[in-house]
């Protein structure tokens, strides 16, 4: 069935479907507003452990883990683990256990310079039958045999086996959690309702194994977790965003993102730097500036990504250099999402600062379908 016309047709169809699905996850403009989703409000106080868990009432939610790993022979690897939850607004009266009320979408990716490109896999399924779920009360997300769970002692466990590779990691917090924005209320655009609840766990210490063709390789490293939920995030004008999260060597944590318009101009920006002592510096949108240093054209999708980026936060200049250029998630063959999610090294005003992850979305040219 490899390349028969019907399969291609099917793929094209899935591309259309899932691409829009992903867009609808991020933005509200393309999908008619389904009633009954709660709004994100500034005065909500995040409470834990409850807010570690899922918030099925909200339209979208994700747990996003990115990090750097090192094998026993000191070879660097980058990894990314994502679980999305999406409420479809399906008829609440439907009593079937198969009723597609909640969808779970998961991505797993591994950047290995020895391989030269990103290894990745993704899955989509509806929640149900205890096979697929995002539980409330504490982080516990499952998609068939893929699992992301927060244990009672606060450490996270990742277990994801893909076709060619797999991850089995334990992530242990070494610092306080970081509430982004205003105590977890994170604005994403000029309008106050364009916001999400957002907290991060930087400086997670990682131990475990990476599987290559079924063989485990012991790894250690450092990771960053984002958990974010909302019903309406992006402005209709927005086409994508650039985001970076870095657990720096001196124990500080940098978060920065900008939301772009179609013409590339900045619609919104945010940056927060927490030093090792726990003091947080928040920057105003106009204090944050993203400047591309070097672009890379994807041979898979023809998209042009600014894979090396200069970020200015007020008077500080950060330079981001990718672990490898080809860290594009091209899943048009299955779920259709295309973005760049890569391990980067950072310098702060020219001096080595540490490692982080850069996410670049909305760069792929609109598909000619």
């Amino acid at each position: 069935m490899r390349n028969s016309p019907c399969v291609d047709k099917f793929r094209r169809f899935v591309v259309t479907r899932m691409l829009v699905l992903l867009l609808s996850l991020m933005a509200t403009g393309s999908v008619a507003e389904a009633p009954g989703f709660p709004l994100v409000v500034p005065d909500y106080k995040l409470t834990f452990p409850h807010d570690y868990g899922a918030h099925p009432g909200f339209r979208i939610e994700w747990w996003y883990v990115t990090g750097w790993l090192e094998t026993a022979d000191k070879k660097p690897l980058g990894f990314q683990v994502t679980f999305f939850r999406s409420a479809t607004g399906h008829n609440p009266d439907n009593s079937s256990q198969f009723a597609p009320k909640q969808l779970i979408i998961a991505h797993v990716a591994l950047s290995d310079p020895a391989v030269g490109k990103l290894m990745q896999e993704e899955k989509t399924a509806r929640a149900g039958f205890d096979l697929v779920y995002a539980k409330e009360g504490n982080t516990d997300v499952k998609l068939d045999n893929w699992r992301f769970v927060r244990e009672a002692d606060g450490h996270y466990r990742v277990d994801m086996q893909a076709r060619d590779f797999g991850l089995q990691l334990a992530l242990t917090p070494t610092q306080m959690m970081l509430l982004q924005g205003d105590q977890g209320f994170s604005r994403k655009g000029p309008k106050p309702e364009q916001a999400s609840y957002y907290y991060s766990e930087p400086h997670l210490s990682v131990s475990g194994a990476v599987f290559h063709q079924g063989k485990p390789v012991t790894v250690n490293g450092r990771a960053w977790l984002d958990h974010e939920w909302s019903s309406e995030i992006l402005d209709p004008e927005a086409v994508g965003w650039d985001w970076v999260g870095a657990s720096l060597d001196d124990g500080s944590a940098l978060t920065a993102f900008q939301i772009r318009r179609k013409d590339g101009s900045r619609l919104w920006a945010y940056a927060a730097l927490r030093d090792a002592s726990g003091h947080v510096t928040l920057f105003k949108p106009e204090q944050v500036e993203f400047t591309p240093v070097r672009t890379w054209r994807s041979p898979h999708t023809d998209a042009v990504y600014p894979v090396a980026m200069r970020i200015r936060t007020d008077s500080t200049e950060w330079l981001l250099t990718p672990l490898l250029d080809d860290q594009e998630l091209d899943s048009r063959r299955s779920t259709g999402a295309v973005y760049w999610e890569g391990a980067v090294t950072l310098t702060r005003d020219g001096e080595s600062a540490g490692q982080g992850y850069l996410e670049l979305t909305g760069y792929v040219a609109p598909l000619d379908l």
């Binding site: 259309t16 079937s96 597609p100 989509t124």
Partner: protein
Amino acid sequence: MKRGLLSRWLLLGEWRAHFVQAIVVIIAIALGVALGFSIHLINTAAFNEFSAASKNLSGQSDLQVHGRQAMFDESLYPFLATYDGVELANPVLEFEVSVPGELIGRKDNKLKILATDMFRAAMISPDLLGMPAEGKPLDGLSDDAIFLSPAAMEWLQVKQGDLLPLNVGTQTMTLRVAGGLVRARAGQRIAVMDIGVAQWRFKHVGLLSRIELKLTPGIHRDTFKAALKQVLGDSYLVLEIADQEARVDHMSRAYRVNLNMLALVALFTGAFLVFSTQALSVIRRRHQFALLRVLGLTRQQLLRQILLEGATLGVVGSLLGLVSGYAIAAIALHFFGGDLGGGFFPGVKPSVYFSPLAAATFFIIGLGITLLGSAAPAWEAASARPAVALKSGSEDKALSKLSAPWPALICLSLALLFTQIPPIFELPVFGYLAIALLLIGGIALMPRFSAVVFSFLLKVMRRHITGAVSTLLLARLANAPNQASIALGGVLASFSLMVAMAIMVTSFRVSVDDWLEHVLPADLYVRAASVGDQGGFQLDEQKAMASLPGFTRVDFFRSLPFILEPTRPEITLIARPIDMTDPSNTLPMTDDMIAPVRLPKDVMPIWVSEAMVDLYGYTVGKRVTLPLGTAEQTFFVAGIWRDYGRQFGAVQMQLADYQTLSGDRSINTVAMWLQAGTTSAQAQTILRQLPFGDALEITPSGEIRALSLEIFDRSFAVTYLLEMVAVVIGLFGVAASFSAQTLARAKEFGMLRHIGMMRRQILILLAAEGGLLTALGVILGFILGWSLSLVLVFIVNPQSFHWTLQLHLPWGWLTLVAGIMLVSAALTALVAGRQAVSGHAVRAVREDW
């Protein structure tokens, strides 16, 4: 080199002189091959398409888990999804819903719905996914969306965005046509929707039809299958594609084989025509051949020459037959689809596929039959002694070798023996062989028989009739029986086959008609669409119907499909009130039953259809187990009933027994008897006034009967067509052999003219000869045909379709065909004779010298 020239010269010379006869032989062979080949192509195309379409529904799964009944509890799904060795479990809910009557015809209003989880199904059957409108990617999950294949859209006359009303039990529900499918097979009528939506909207919550499994790479399928079977136990079936193929094959195999056999009848008749034409042509040229022999042509060369003649006709005819057969198949498939009336391949649009193997087979059959037809005459011509053959009047002697009785008797006794042999692979192979042998034996005995009959007639008539013509006529027929019987071979073959088929079809039709009367005793039958694994009527609806005015009696039926053996089509379980004083009051029982008073008390009785005996060995008095309800239940087979409606088996039981065992109180069909004075129309009005009246499917029993007989006739339409072709070929044979004979007898007629016979008298003589011969052929054909019909009715039918028939003879029709045969044979003889007596008497006689 010289031999090649001579051979060519002889061939061309013969064909130039007897062009029409060569053409007739070619046409007969071509027609037979064309029919056989086209029916084979059509059936194969339809079968392949049908099986591809049903395979298409299950996608690329390694194994499938089914319940014994149509649906099972969904709790098996998470169990299998997490089962070791399973990479992917795809839950499927497949069911049929009826489309409300106004939209389309009542006869065929079922739409198959395949409900899946698109995220799972995409990995296993990517073709059968809904394709939503652009910009509405998640429409497939909407609670009102249904996706239709192109064929279904055309059939229902809806397009994307239209609303589609469907029946659910006694209610009507409206869905929105959200789009087409990624790829459906041409003609495949199917709807796809989300499994969660379908479970809820169609009241199937908690139920699945099957779970398709994709195994982890490296897992050994057969080992896994065996282990899973152990774990799941008897209430589930673990199937692979091969099982499903076997099931589809079982469904239509008997029908396909029987139709192919019928198609070969035309070819078989053609063989007799080849034989008679070749035999007469050889006899006509006896002098020629004798002369050639005297001039030095060897026996082998002569044999080869005559066989070459036959082979050339065979090759040309077969090739022509293949070409026209392919054309017929292509045209028929294009305009009428693949269903030849049997109703086994609904909703597929196959296209013709040229199979070299089948073409080669039919070519060889065509050629072989021509060679077989030429072999005996060729052998005779080659082995004749030239000196004897040169003499005049040795023609009839030449054929006397053919009239030795022992080969015929061997054929007939073998045929009798073959009727006693059970079927092979559930096909009546020996039944068909017996028919062929009966036919050959019967025809081979013909010369002897006609000599006896006509000698007797001659003796009797001599005393009473003095006319020269009648004396000549009888003398000729009595003393030259071999030539006469050759002419009869074709008539006999085609007429007896036709008689056999006519008797079989009539027996079948009358049996079905009687049966329908028996199984449809009520006045009205009311149905509602099924709901999940429940019949359409729930308890309160049943109460409402039972208490309606205007009816004397109301019976409830519950029927459900049931898999007993994975590789066989489903059987039908029917639960209804059965009269325990005498079950034959309720069921069309055969004689094979145990009286209710003598039934064991400790076990529930069931009454099974004849097919259950053949296919599953459910003989009367046996204790059998059926997985009904939650556990295996033992039943006692109390009797066998006739069922012409369900070829794959059916079991009837008391409704009360069924309800006790299964706890299922729902009902599919309600049989209602009208009170005296209530008309059917009034009763229907009363029913329509029920709160759920609109969703009822009300059919008067007369209508069901008419519809059933219409379906019956439609399925035999092709049979009638094949019969007609066989008759036409038979008549061809009569024409060919009579004209050949009259031409060969030009000398005789010349002589008769010399001694004073009038041209008119000769013509009368010929017409009478033709008529008398045909009359004998018709009588013998009738006897032979009747014997053949016994084989068809009592052996081929029960062995193929697992039902028995009662013999009924269509006298009127038989008389009509016999009359047509007689008249056309006499006319043919006359036309051929005109040509023979048209020349000068002197020239005709001179030819001899």
